[in-house]
Amino acid sequence: MDIEDKRDISREYFSRERLAEHHFRSFNAFLGRGMQEVVDEKATIETDIGDKEGEEPVYVELGDVRVVTPRVREADGSEELLYPQEARLRNITYAAPVFMEMAIIKGGEEEEERVVDQTETKIGRMPIMVGSEKCNIAGFTDEELIDIGEDPADPGGYFIVNGSERVLMTSEDLAPNKILAETDTKYGDQIEVAKTFSQRRGYRALVLCERTRDGLLEVSFPSVSGSVNFVTLVRALGLESDEEIVHRVSDDPEIVKFMLENLEAAEVQTTEGAIESLGQRVASGQGKNYQLKRANYVIDRYLLPHLHEEGVDEEDVRINKAYYLCRMAEACFELALDRREADDKDHYANKRLKVSGDLMKDLFRTALNKLARDVKYQLERANMRNRQLSVSTVVRSDVLTERLEHPIATGNWVGGRSGVSQLVDRTDYMGVLSHLRRLRSPLSRSQPHFEARDLHATQWGRICPSETPEGPNCGLVKNFAQAMELSQNVADEQELKQELAQMGVEGIPGIESVEQQPADD
């Protein structure tokens, strides 16, 4: 490739469409499928109506969600299309109405289930990214843009809330659903730990597998205080016999030796016994039946939630969880035996970027939950006062709108993060471009974190090696390289798995047609 071609490519990367491309792609994916995914996760809103004698239960079914383009509602009640410049000048929010199919369904116990009311109703307003698919200026020519008072050179990629332009900062997180092995010290001794941030539908659970100084493996996960013996846990998950447990961890003779030590120290021998012993941990002092119920619930709910999948049996998921734990155990042992090195947290393969669409998805999820709670409350109240139940009177669209706009306006995101949205830096044109392509590490700037601030070799071609602020944020705030390409999550995991299988990837022997573990190297 000669110098001319290189220049052409370089210029392409600097075109208006490319500069905020990552924001557009991410937000468009959120509008296109992310919102519907969140609604489908929720699926129904249950109510307490029907708990009393002689009352028929009521629930709400959520259907298709639809966003139109930004509109403004005037005081006289008329509704018109809104363009970004008008939103900026009038200090209003550039947001589009969101509609959702909702059906109130009554009955199910004595009577047949019947639909009381079903309509598509406005559930709130979604702030729209300037320049995205649902933006009113999408596809405009330069002349048309000038006609409506827009700057044709403006890259877009930000939101307008109450007249101020806000960018959502891309944040750099540790990759979820991956096994990271590292060494740690506990009571002065070196121990080996395998960590996984298991993430599914906005729920994040840290699972730790530790090899303590006496060589015993312990696992800790949310909802269980302290840690659980590894062998007990895999037995509870259905991996019962000694031989199978050892075989699943590794065939390496030295690791087998370590595993035998663990098995010797095992408290229980059977799956039933293991679940019982887990029950005593999670619900001590309760009745035995409740303990068992609680133990099963904890295993299915809080342990490695990312291994759950639509349409896969609870049984298969459990055995998958057991295999996954075995992989974590293997990582610990290998690290102890110096067969591998500790994983590098700063390696870019172990990082994932949360762009505006992902952030909006988190926001929409909590906003929808809040709306659901409100709908439940309104329904129960309407029912208590013997009112006719109708979709339009139980949905208060302010609830969702408020929850979506407020975090963007203030930067206080769900999950307690602050400074997620920032006022677009309009000092000069380059300032805007730089700001849209900035990314932030969630690490605290008041702590040293020397390794995290260092330039890492894997940032080559992705992150600009020189553009970073001086002072406390040095190395924590970074900027994308000019030719950076951001890949996106696949829309359909099932399809990806089939594709991988066709290319010759083999699943774990013993389980066919079920899922493949994510690669963890």
């Binding site: 309104q378 009177t393 208060r396 669209s397």
Partner: protein, 286 residues
């Protein structure tokens, strides 16, 4: 305070206020400076756990306690027994906030007003005024034997009428949990006892809303506005439903501009029958 007078004390010019000072736009006199900024602290530290806001929410009439309530917050740092104790305190505290049945009714009605106002996308001051109206109705003892939902809906309807941002009765009923009868009873009672300052509704109040619902151009809407003024002057709208008259004005204007609009469509947005629309249309075109 000088800022509230709106004109310059020196030259009676127009005053212009920004974040920190009030200046006369004509002579440049600085009328007021160093205003107290009640907004949040502009600095934010990511690691700061304290709320940087310096003041609480403003007073509002749309809450039974005028927005002066104290709430017991939540903390994730509290664990076990202490956490349960805080939950109990919170519950007791919530119970003490509503002392009487009348207060409970007021809370319920204000909530209901909020629902209606939100559903109709009305501005916030309408909500405040509707709440004040409801309170005076309650103080007069009009609620006895009538429905709360009806009063809440009627308060919003009446406030809209007095603020000349009228909504039609079917529109309000569609957004409220009240039935037509409940609303009528409540509105009549308020009108009788409180002497609401409502005159006949001018058809132009409906024009903008109907025009945008029917997707009509600005020019058509402007022409319809002229027609509405003529209707009022000539007394054509005497004894007619103002929303029907508004629809007729829009229909007439649309016909003049050769727009594609049927009588049924126009009548539909106004919740009237095409017959109502037609009679005004004939009077207008004669």
């Amino acid at each position: 305070m000088a800022a509230t007078t709106q004109t310059c004390p020196e030259c009676s010019g127009r005053l212009q206020a920004d974040d920190c000072e009030t200046v006369c736009a004509e002579c440049g006199l600085v009328v007021e400076e160093h205003n107290i900024d009640p907004g949040p602290e502009w600095r934010s530290f990511a690691d700061d756990e304290t709320n940087p806001e310096r003041t609480g929410a403003p007073l509002t009439r749309s809450r039974h306690d005028r927005g002066l309530s104290t709430e017991i917050g939540r903390s994730t740092r509290l664990k076990g027994r202490k956490r349960r104790r805080m939950a109990r305190l919170r519950r007791q505290h919530k119970r003490t906030q509503i002392a009487t049945k009348a207060e409970r009714n007021r809370v319920y009605a204000f909530n209901e007003i909020d629902n209606v106002v939100t559903a109709l996308s009305l501005p916030e001051d309408i909500q405040e005024r509707a709440c004040v109206l409801f309170e005076s109705a309650q103080d007069e003892g009009l609620l006895q034997g009538r429905s709360l939902e009806g009063f809440a809906a009627a308060a919003v309807y009446a406030t809209c009428r007095t603020a000349t941002v009228s909504r039609t009765l079917p529109e309000v009923i569609g957004a409220a949990r009240a039935s037509r009868e409940e609303l009528d009873v409540a509105y009549d009672a308020m009108n009788r006892e409180l002497g609401l300052p409502t005159g006949p509704i001018h058809p132009r109040e409906y024009l903008a809303r109907f025009a945008s619902k029917l997707d009509l151009s600005q020019a058509v809407e402007r022409r319809a506005r002229e027609l509405a003024e003529r209707v009022r002057e000539e007394g054509i709208d005497n004894g007619r439903n103002p929303s029907g008259v508004a629809a007729a004005c829009l229909y007439t204007a649309a016909m003049e501009a050769d727009c594609d609009l049927t009588q049924a469509e126009a009548a539909d947005v106004a919740d009237v029958t095409p017959v109502t629309l037609r009679s005004t249309y004939y009077d207008l075109t004669e």
